[in-house]
């Protein structure tokens, strides 16, 4: 597969601030659904604007379709774009709003008409075309913005965190829609988000932007199961992974929450990552160890619960599934928590790299 985007050694520092992007390298393959995932403020939007040609890096190169584009007019980058804060023109109809990218290209009327109906149908908003934006709901506005972003026929579309601030049920539906949409169009989507669930649900590949560079890139399953960096594990996953500071001495791992012997890793300061689903209230299978804790909150998601428990001055989380006869401890109740040793993921405390 060919690369449609290649970013090489991008640097960006805003005056008086810490560097935002430092030697950032990123390759997006043709027909990928690439999610650039990172915490709010990590530089995702700036990065997208650089690909669009709306912002210049201090140094480094942006290649689109194999060609360096620093001297190319942004209008010729030929990218469909849904920015984070999309503004619909209030005095124009939904139809006119969606048609806008083609109108400014002065395309023939009947072509525009066919295109508007094509994308409106794709996003199930045909009945809205005659309305004004103010007559539509939040979710409908989002779909209108997406329709406007994809009306242009091209091989690359960028969505900059388009669902932020929308309520939960709407996001659920839009996530399904967007995945289907990429398959229908069979092109490349680049999507940014700070929401773990969105990243895991939408992506073919995730690139994790943290501390100014792409820390790790992989398919969502591999990245979730075997993160190579402590920060990747910390920020990707819902609920967040438990990250504990610890020390290995003569093969024994000591943390504020528990001590476990025979860890089979070299001595030194470590960060231990534990996914909430790997703690159990019952005895686990192979090589489990158990420690005592106190339940401090149970957050009910419907089909499952997040159980918060206190141990050694820390609050950790575990998952609990609602099943017939499952054990449901009360708040303040003392519990025994088990985990298999092999589920503990150790990172070097200094480098953050997996041991």
């Amino acid at each position: 597969m060919a690369a449609i985007i290649e970013l090489k050694n991008l640097m960006k520092t805003y005056r008086g601030k810490q560097p935002l992007l430092q030697n950032l390298n990123l390759t997006v393959e043709d027909k990928d659904f690439k999610v650039v995932f990172g915490l709010p403020g990590c530089g995702k939007s700036v990065l997208m604007r650089m690909i669009m040609g709306l912002e210049r890096p201090d140094a480094g190169e942006v290649f689109l379709r194999g060609r360096e584009v620093s001297n190319v007019n942004p209008g010729e980058h030929n990218i469909g774009y849904v920015p984070q804060s999309f503004a619909l023109f209030p005095h124009q109809t939904v139809y006119q709003n969606i048609a806008y990218p083609l109108t400014i290209q002065k395309r023939p009327k009947d072509e525009i008409d066919a295109e508007v109906h094509r994308v409106a149908k794709m996003l199930s908003i045909e009945e809205l075309l005659v309305k004004k934006p103010e007559q539509t709901s939040g979710g409908q506005k989002q779909r209108i913005a997406i329709a406007r972003g994809i009306i242009k026929h091209t091989d690359l579309y960028i969505f900059d965190d388009p669902f932020v601030g929308l309520d939960f049920k709407l996001r659920e539906q839009l996530v399904y829609d967007l995945r289907d949409l990429r398959e229908k169009l069979d092109t490349t989507f680049v999507y940014t988000t700070s929401d773990s669930s969105e990243a895991l649900q939408l992506s073919k590949t995730i690139s994790l932007l943290h501390a100014g560079y792409i820390m790790e890139t992989n398919d969502p399953f591999t990245l979730y199961d075997t993160p190579q960096c402590a920060d990747s594990m910390r920020i990707l996953g819902f609920p967040n992974a438990n990250m504990l500071e610890g020390k290995i001495e003569r093969g024994t791992l000591v943390t504020d929450a528990f001590t476990v012997e025979g860890i089979g890793k070299p001595d030194g300061q470590v960060l231990v990552g534990i996914r909430p689903e790997h703690f159990t209230l019952e005895k686990a299978g192979e090589q489990p160890f158990t420690f005592a804790a106190t339940v401090s909150l149970r957050e009910d998601l419907g089909g499952e619960e997040i159980v918060y428990f206190d141990v050694g001055g820390l609050t950790l989380t575990m998952m609990s599934w609602h099943a017939e006869g499952s054990y449901e401890p009360a708040l303040g109740e003392k519990i025994s928590v088990s985990i298999e040793k092999k589920k503990l993921i150790c990172f070097d405390a200094a480098t953050g790299l997996r041991l």
Partner: protein
């Protein structure tokens, strides 16, 4: 402390019935969550209870006392809003003491109540801090503490987590839960977030278009939604719905659906069952990688991805119906192509053509 009783409560804005003739009792000492999408009338209802919104018709009682025509001030309620209310230039304890001073309460009494409120919210260590300087979550805790210290009959919460930053929400939730367990206060809590409602509520009033669709304990609401709307709205993702084939026969009908395995026999006529659907939650569908006696229906794997707690969400299809299955990480990893699926009878909910639950 008092229960809240609303009788034929109505609020009309133009042609819109924002709160549509409701009759409910919110129990004394319990947390009732008003849950629903935006525009369902939950905030309007809360504001009517608070006396901040005029009522078109109906009555409101706190205990045996009718308060329909009393002003907000006369109702003896506490309120916590989306934006934390703290007074600039005052410390945390001064903030909490302010309404008590205004009520000309005895000094010792004020001190006692402030101490109690600080302790209930676990914010003793910040009592001398300027409340304005605090983080969003701590400011919201101070707002709650001030209402608690007044010891009102009822405390109303209007989406208090909206403006608390995401990483601190848990701190507030924990505090709120501890508080309600200790205080046994009558609370009405408005939210559009099902997790908050399920976590906090002794009861949930699920609302849609001015009506309460269902008023139940959280688990009951989740497990047995009385309408299709509740099945869809609660859960992540919501319930799957299937349109089965209904065949009339002597003395009743046969309901068939590929995922059922064997058909359901019922005494209801095919006429009555017209347009019915069967709902099942994604985590209640059973899957197997291999064919067995129990698993005879082969379905395609269209998509899979990781969801909450490392579970896998599988997307599949029978006929024209796309459906989703939530499975454990171990099962999810294993399934990478066609698989076998079954809808266990005990988890199926039947709905009529209007989307209302009925017993088969």
């Amino acid at each position: 402390m008092a229960e809240i009783r609303i009788v034929n409560l109505l609020k009309v804005f133009g042609s819109l019935h924002a709160v549509d003739n409701l009759n409910y009792t919110f129990s004394d000492g319990k947390v009732t969550c008003l849950l629903g999408p935006s525009g369902c009338g939950k905030t309007t209802l809360l504001r009517m209870i608070a006396g901040l919104e005029s009522i078109t018709d109906g009555e409101i009682y706190f205990g045996n006392k009718e308060i329909t025509n009393l002003s907000t001030r006369e109702r003896n309620i506490g309120m916590v809003f989306q934006y934390p209310v703290v007074y600039k230039g005052l410390t945390v304890e001064q903030n909490i003491a302010l309404p008590l001073k205004e009520a000309r309460m005895d000094k010792d009494e004020i001190a006692e109540r402030v101490n109690e409120a600080l302790s209930l919210l676990a914010i003793q260590d910040i009592r001398k801090r300027d409340a304005w300087e605090l983080s969003s979550v701590l400011r919201q805790k101070v707002s709650v503490a001030r209402e608690v210290a007044r010891r009102p009959d009822i405390i109303l919460f209007d989406e208090p987590l909206t403006n608390v930053d995401a990483n601190s929400k848990t701190l507030f939730k924990r505090s709120f839960k501890e508080l309600t367990q200790k205080l046994q206060q009558t609370i009405v809590y408005v939210t559009h977030d099902q997790t908050e409602a399920m976590t906090f509520g002794d009861h949930i009033a699920l609302m849609k278009q001015g009506k309460v669709v269902q008023f139940d304990a959280p688990r009951e609401l989740y497990n047995h939604p009385r309408e299709v709307f509740g099945g869809w709205f609660l859960g992540n993702p919501g319930m799957n719905f299937f349109q089965p084939t209904v065949q009339g026969k002597v003395g009743g009908s046969l309901i068939t659906l590929p995922l059922l395995g064997k058909p359901i026999e019922t005494e209801k006529s095919a006429q009555e069952l017209q347009g019915m659907s069967l709902g099942i939650r994604p985590e209640h569908l059973a899957v197997s990688k291999t064919q067995t006696d129990d698993f005879s229906v082969r379905v395609p794997l269209k998509q899979k991805w990781i969801v909450v707690g490392g579970q896998y969400l599988l997307t599949s299809q029978v006929g024209d119906t796309t459906f989703r299955i939530k499975v454990s990480p171990a099962v999810g990893r294993e399934i990478d192509g066609d698989f076998y699926c079954r809808a266990p009878m005990e988890h199926l909910m039947a709905y009529d053509h209007k989307g209302v639950h009925f017993t088969l």
